[in-house]
């Protein structure tokens, strides 16, 4: 008995570190693929050398243009795409668990739309300056949008905590429409033609403008946000039978809801302020991951973060290579994959009930 009980945690810890190593490897492989594949494909050894030059000052003789493309353009893109994928997928998992709704995700609940409005307001009306204030504006918009949607859902009789699943989604649609309209209103009223074109492109999800200062914001936000959610994995599990059941299992419900919805809103807002609102990642990735690793959040959260990262890096590669000489907004790719996925979840959800 003592042997067995001593052996088990050690074995699972070993398995855990093995899985973590595999996840890290997959992530690095995805980011390297993101750096290698593009209009001009760059062989992996060149990428390795470029990284060595920049990080360790290794001094390999390399084509300066290749090195610049890898370091300043593609690597930043891939890293931000990975952060963004992880953040959106984990936000989706958290919102689905807290609202007990299979269709919840930051895009459908209007959080992304609110973040866009906030970011556009800051960008155009010039409230403050720089990346941080853009993110703050997006965060304010995201929180405002979620509060509005939650209040509307409660007024419609659904509530955030009640089993009725339809209201919060309908409220989310109303909220998205409202905030998208506000965004368009602000752009039309205040932006000049060039600004308007840029913003419209950005709204569909665009990683082209991403540089190292974005990486410095995206990486800590994604890591911290995902870590906060994983820290609360058991609390998220406890919401399986609703918030009353979570409370009787010892979860301070209101506190956890505010913290985790706030974390999701913050992650979504920071990502939206950099790359625009990218749909369906938060919806489809959690479901695909549940299918692979089950519903328990100790596995679901890290696995969704990994799947989201790899998926979005892949979507970015596809957006750059699908049409010769042109970059598609990444939101187009995620929607092309995500909309059928959404339909599948609707159909399966109906059969399950």
């Amino acid at each position: 008995m003592t042997l067995a009980s001593a052996g088990k945690p050690r074995a699972s810890r070993l398995a855990l570190s093995g899985r973590a190593a595999l996840a890290a490897l997959l992530l690095v492989a995805a980011v390297c693929a993101g750096a290698a594949i593009g209009e001009t494909s760059i062989p992996l050894p060149v990428i390795a050398k470029a990284l060595a030059n920049r990080i360790f000052a290794a001094g390999y003789p390399l084509d300066a243009i290749d090195e610049g493309i890898v370091w300043n353009y593609r690597l930043t893109r891939a890293i931000v795409a990975a952060c963004c994928g992880a953040a959106l997928a984990v936000s989706g998992v958290v919102l689905q668990a807290l609202l007990r709704n299979a269709l919840a995700d930051p895009y459908i609940l209007g959080i992304s739309a609110g973040a866009s409005t906030g970011a556009v307001t800051v960008a155009i009306t010039g409230l403050g300056a720089g990346a941080i204030s853009l993110s703050l504006g997006a965060f304010a918009g995201a929180v405002l949008a979620f509060l509005l949607v939650a209040v509307l859902a409660r007024a419609a009789g659904g509530g955030v905590s009640v089993q009725a699943t339809g209201q919060i989604i309908l409220a989310g649609i109303a909220g998205s429409q409202l905030f998208n309209a506000l965004t368009s209103f602000i752009i039309t009223k205040s932006a000049n033609a060039e600004q308007a074109r840029g913003i419209m492109f950005w709204l569909l999800g665009n990683l082209s403008g991403v540089r190292w200062h974005d990486v410095r914001l995206a990486v800590p936000v994604a890591i911290l946000g995902v870590a906060v959610c994983i820290w609360h994995r058991r609390a998220l599990d406890a919401f399986t039978f609703g918030s009353d059941s979570a409370a009787s299992l010892g979860i301070p419900v209101r506190q956890v809801q505010i913290l985790l919805v706030g974390t999701s809103a913050l992650m979504t807002a920071v990502m939206v302020s950099m790359v625009g609102s990218i749909g369906f990642v938060g919806l489809v990735i959690p479901h695909a991951t549940r299918f692979l690793v089950g519903v328990r959040h100790a596995r679901l959260l890290p696995a969704s973060a990994l799947m989201g990262s790899v998926f979005l890096v892949g979507a970015d590669i596809a957006s750059r290579t699908a049409i010769d000489g042109q970059v598609l907004p990444i939101g187009v790719i995620t929607a092309l994959v995500g909309a059928p996925g959404f339909a599948l979840i609707l159909i399966r959800g109906r059969r399950g009930r």
């Binding site: 299979a102 039978f241 979860i251």
Partner: protein
Amino acid sequence: MMLSCHDLGWSARGTPIVRDVSLAIREGETFGLVGPNGSGKSTLLRLMAGLLEPSQGGVRLKGASLASMPRRSVAQALAFVEQHAESGERITVRDAVELGRTAWLSPLQPWTAGDDAIVARALGDADMTGMEARFWHTLSGGERQRVHLARALAQQPEILLLDEPTNHLDIQHQLAILGLVRQLPITTVIALHDLNQALGCDRLGVMHGGRLVALGPPDEVLTVPVLRDIFGVAASFLIDPADGSRIIRFHPAS
């Protein structure tokens, strides 16, 4: 004294649902709450579980004010089984019962063999051993209720609150659940609809219009005047020749 309420009251939008309830649950007893529909049984249970905030009075758990205790400490002492807790997730029976350990595990604490043993015992006590791998949506109503009970037991509570746990179950499962609850060596507060089943409790509290109108051993509480005035039925008491216990036969009030 395990759990007590003093002058407890709760209102929904100005309408009082529970009022002036003072009650002390003794250690180890099975306490039944009975009363007609809408008499406030469920609300009282939810107040005693700390799921609702009282608008008057308060609840004390083992001497401490429930409202000021962290949820985690409450959950380590008290478990609550709701009436209809459902889930659309593809969780297994084992997953659902493991949730009972939530209050005992901190974020950095790993799941241990000890937790496994507690979950296995809870499954055994609820007669669900061998069903661990079944998915929630494939279970019958009775099996779901037993899983909820097993989850509450995995919480290792000193007090168990149950809101009509036999509702919608067939008679065999009703008796099985009640038998199990009575055997448990812990304090239990159970809301019941079936008054004959309530006769098996150590003490009964009768709710009417949000007030606790009678309190005491079943034979003293469920009397002909109480059944007539509170439940609106006439009744005669019969003796079961099999074991000599009393049962109630109900007639429409004339």
